[in-house]
Symmetry: C2
Subunit: 378 residues, 2 copies
């Protein structure tokens, strides 16, 4: 018989499965309506039952952040996998092994040097790697700029070297710095336009560039048109989190991941409630620190999940969290939150908090809790 929340030891990472399913449906419907394929980024959950729910809802391919995720998902029957981090030459042997087993693993480059390493290794092992070129659409991290001659040079080097160009991809990571629908729509259009332009530039040079892959959760939920785009990658939408809530792309009742915790002490003079969820449970992510509303290490909710306004996880040591209240109220904190009582904490960043746990406790609509393991490491 499945457990219930009342039986769980704390701290534990809880998934609200009905919320997660609604989040998955919402994104899939949006992509269907915009006429593009959804290739979810599984780096948020690193958890097969979550990925399988995304596939059941309509995703036919996935994005991964490590080759370990690719191996794990391929072993579970998922074939079309895009490893969306620039390929290190030292990881090509592992990628080759996966492809030789029948995995349709595609890889990424954004420089002539990395491309040459792929070509050399591919030729040496008689492997026609499927390769994407990363485009820099907002200056936030990696990628070649659309006006850079290296763009066409990389595409040509791949073709001359016998590799297969899948297409161009970009990630508008700077969307995490925005918080108005106007700015998000503008960045989504910039992401689309620049990536489509990169494909057109390659095509104008007489080279095939079949696919255009874009995506981040905020831009995917803000784009008004995806003309010229073939697929969207997005990850954190599956759980959402306080950073996404501050950006404005989800409601509070869409946050599907929380940490269940127990009250273990008080410092009544300071108004502190001490809980057994410190940074080892929440992660050190302070993603809301620079946003318009700083949630500390997380927003405190009741055990049932109701948001307690003004209650924040203000500070965190390894296994101790300090909860403070903006309005202490009439009842003493030792009575309102007695030792042994439980709370839930909504995280700043679902990808970082999930990674602190070897498994999730997934709570379905009936209240039954299932243990879903997740990947750790590389």
């Amino acid at each position: 018989m499945p457990a219930s929340i009342a039986c769980l030891d704390t701290p534990v990472a809880l998934i609200d499965v009905p919320r997660m399913q609604r989040n998955i449906q919402r994104m899939q419907h949006r992509m269907d309506a915009l006429g593009v394929r959804l290739r979810p980024h599984i780096k948020t959950s690193k958890c097969l039952p979550v990925v399988q729910a995304q596939i059941e809802a309509g995703a036919s391919a996935i994005t991964v952040s490590t080759l370990k995720e690719a191996e794990h998902c391929f072993a579970a029957g998922i074939h079309d996998i895009f490893y969306a981090v620039s390929m290190a030459p030292g990881k090509l042997a592992q990628a080759l092994t996966l492809r030789r087993k029948g995995c349709r693993l595609s890889i990424l480059t954004d420089s002539l040097a990395a491309t040459q390493a792929i070509v050399d290794f591919g030729r040496q092992h008689d492997e026609r790697f499927e390769v994407w070129i990363e485009i820099d659409c907002d200056g936030h991290r990696s990628g070649v700029r659309v006006e850079d001659d290296a763009l066409v040079d990389i595409a040509r080097r791949l073709r001359e070297g016998g590799m297969q160009l899948c297409g161009v991809m970009t990630h508008a990571g700077s969307s995490y710095e925005l918080n108005t629908s106007q700015a998000l729509q503008a960045l989504a259009e910039q992401e689309r336009y620049i990536c489509v332009s990169a494909a057109q530039r390659i095509r104008a040079a007489g080279l095939a560039c079949p696919q255009v892959s874009i995506g981040s959760t905020p831009t995917a939920l803000s784009a008004q048109s995806l003309e010229g785009v073939t697929e969207v990658r997005a990850g954190v939408y599956v759980f959402f989190d306080l950073v996404m809530h501050n950006i404005g792309v989800c409601r509070a009742d869409e946050l599907a991941l929380s940490v269940l915790t127990t009250v273990i002490g008080h410092q009544p003079d300071k108004g502190w409630i001490i809980i057994d969820a410190g940074w080892m449970a929440m992660s050190r992510d302070r993603g809301t620190q620079r946003q318009q509303r700083d949630f500390g290490y997380g927003q405190v909710c009741s055990e049932a999940g109701d948001w307690i306004e003004g209650a924040l996880l203000s500070n965190a040591n390894q296994e101790h969290g300090i909860v403070t209240l903006s309005s202490p109220g009439e009842v003493a904190i030792t009575e309102r939150f007695p030792i042994g009582s439980r709370l839930r904490i909504l995280p700043n960043h679902a990808c970082a908090t999930g990674a602190q746990f070897p498994e999730y406790s997934a709570c379905d609509a009936s209240g039954a809790v299932h243990t879903w393991s997740r990947l750790h490491g590389w």
Copy 2:
């Protein structure tokens, strides 16, 4: 045959075993000279070979931050284990199971409410729990203040309830905010004096209080006298890190934990070197942010471990790190740090960075690398 560093996939958590052994010796010798027992806190490494090295050097007991650590170490033959986080009532059954198997597990309280829960559960199961009382010596987190009447009340409640009082303990966590030997010595003396005074207050009430346990790495390395103290708990000294280096209690060549990483790209116009160690490898810990020298997400070293002055991990996404140089130098970064070349990153906080990895690669004096697994989760 053991691997060598050259064979390792990246990112990987490297332990420099000779440095670790010197760190262990240094702390053990200091405690021996001060006449107190060392009870290392294993929350830093969560790794049996590291703990065993501490025991071989002279530690006879350990401190843990989770009951999972206690179970793991007890299964490996370690008996005297102090779980140094205030006891949640819901965890008493797990503690009881350990004690019934023969583990000398001691637990912690800092309130009458938590003490009553221990007494009630202990009586119900006919178990005489060994209990410490936490003292607040610097206002940074948990603990009862020495002048608070609750101190003696808790000790009395434990005795009347049939439990065994081990003694008093404190942790001068505010030592992480200091950076002069004068301030550290003063805080170490404050930690000692307050904790010894708490024991004396209990004894003056006619109750036994055999032990006085204090400790944090900075105060343990700064204390001039430990009169009245019976044992010291310290954890991060086993690896040290950039936070400890900023505090001034270790040299750069004593940092024993680093993350080996591969260069996967460049943004030459911005002077960015992109590596495959992002926050998933380093953790989100920015512990040096408020110290006198901010190392970003880490100090960059050569593959061999030589500090590259002015090279920092300035920013981190999940699987991407951005390295910047304060002095770019004559040679282009694409030539000086070509794609596929390797670097090592020293972490801000060894406890947080270690937790991102399922295992360490422990490199011994001969250059051979051994895989040491570590605990994850609760």
